[in-house]
């Protein structure tokens, strides 16, 4: 009996969803805001990647709120799991020779790749969030390879706090100069070069460091749960 009600519910749900989605035909979206942004984004921000222009310039406040959500999640996980730095008592086995060697080779590559993604966020696909995730993975790989060298919670907390402060300070400087919070304010430079798009790369750098520190903190507290 329950099986048939399940099938009935799921079929009805998919029919309703299909009826809602079908009018939205692929390739014929009205693009009411998108056309305006496409026309003016290069002039306004100087970023070659228009998604970056939307994320950091047009919807900068949303990104700040998103950072707040991520911070809340990381803090809540710290409270739920408890940050007990008792790694020497719970001696988990080492990961073995293969993973340790691979971690040594991969760590600098991952670090360079993460910084490349973060610093080229205004030119190529990528940016602070993606690069921050790679950064956290690079540092967590060392922890995986050798459980002795753990991610220091105090260091990551300091980096996170400084990066978050830098993001807000960049916004406040824009407020002092132009009267609008979180508007791009430095010289726009030449389109497509590394030092262009004003303050957007600085914002992405702060964001990438903050996301990387937060995710590293989160991964290490998930890994350090007492068995």
């Amino acid at each position: 009996m329950q099986r048939w009600t399940t099938i009935l519910f799921l079929t009805g749900l998919s029919i309703v969803l299909f009826a809602i989605i079908t009018p939205l035909v692929l390739g014929q979206s009205p693009m009411l805001v998108g056309k305006l942004i496409n026309a003016s984004a290069v002039n306004d921000t100087g970023a070659a990647n228009l998604v970056t222009a939307v994320v950091l310039a047009y919807r900068g406040l949303d990104t700040l709120g998103e950072l707040a959500i991520l911070f809340t999640a990381a803090t809540a996980i710290g409270i739920i799991l408890g940050t007990t730095d008792k790694t020497q008592t719970t001696s988990s086995p080492t990961a073995g020779f293969i993973v340790a060697t691979a971690a040594k080779v991969l760590f600098p590559l991952l670090l360079v790749f993460a910084l490349y993604i973060i610093l080229h966020g205004h030119l190529t696909p990528g940016g602070g969030f993606q690069g921050g995730a790679v950064l956290a993975a690079a540092f967590f790989l060392l922890t995986l390879a050798d459980s002795g060298n753990n991610i220091k919670h105090k260091v990551t907390q300091v980096i996170e706090a400084l990066a978050g402060t830098a993001f807000i300070v960049l916004g406040l400087v824009s407020f002092a100069l132009q009267g609008v919070f979180l508007q791009p304010w430095l010289d726009k430079g030449e389109l497509g070069s590394l030092f262009s798009a004003g303050s957007l790369p600085l914002l992405y750098l702060a964001l990438g460091l903050k996301v990387g520190a937060e995710l590293a903190n989160l991964l290490s507290s998930l890994a350090n749960v007492e068995k």
Binding site: L13, I21, G27, S29, A39, L70, T72, A73, G192, L222
Partner: protein, 144 residues
């Protein structure tokens, strides 16, 4: 041109099918499974389906990715002609936001699952319900 339109409609249909299948499987996992970890995975599938729909909503016919690649072309009119053919960047930025928040939500859910497993030793929702009811009655009796 006619054939291209037909292919386009076909692609549209299959994107709809895939995203709706992901959403329905995710809701099935959240609502009908007894294992808490499967509920978390269902949440992930649901988010993936919704993200596919959002990216699809910004697509324009014969459009390119929203990145200016002709960097040497400093002529403003050339850049404007290039950006006029680009897809909508707003849904892509929304999906970027959604993915990051989904990561936070899933990490929080996983940590809750770990905590529950440490306290009760099981992840079956029916067994957990009985165990939690028993605990509640015990604490009520202690208060009296």
């Amino acid at each position: 041109m006619m054939i291209w339109d037909d292919i386009f409609l076909e692609v549209d249909f299959w994107i709809n099918i895939v995203s709706i299948a992901l959403i329905v499987i995710g809701i099935y996992g959240i609502v009908f499974s007894q294992h808490l970890l499967r509920m978390v995975f269902g949440l992930g599938l649901l988010e993936a389906g919704v993200n596919i729909l959002l990216v699809k909503a910004g697509y324009q016919k014969e459009a390119i990715a929203p990145i200016v690649t002709q960097a040497s072309d400093t002529m403003m009119s050339n850049i404007l002609a290039a950006t006029a053919q680009m897809v909508d960047p707003v849904p892509q930025a929304m999906v970027l936001t959604a993915i990051v928040i989904a990561a936070g939500v899933q990490a929080l859910a996983l940590s809750l699952v770990i905590r529950i497993y440490k306290k009760y030793g099981t992840l079956d929702s029916h067994v957990l319900f009985l165990a939690m009811e028993r605990d509640r009655h015990l604490s009520l009796n202690q208060k009296d």
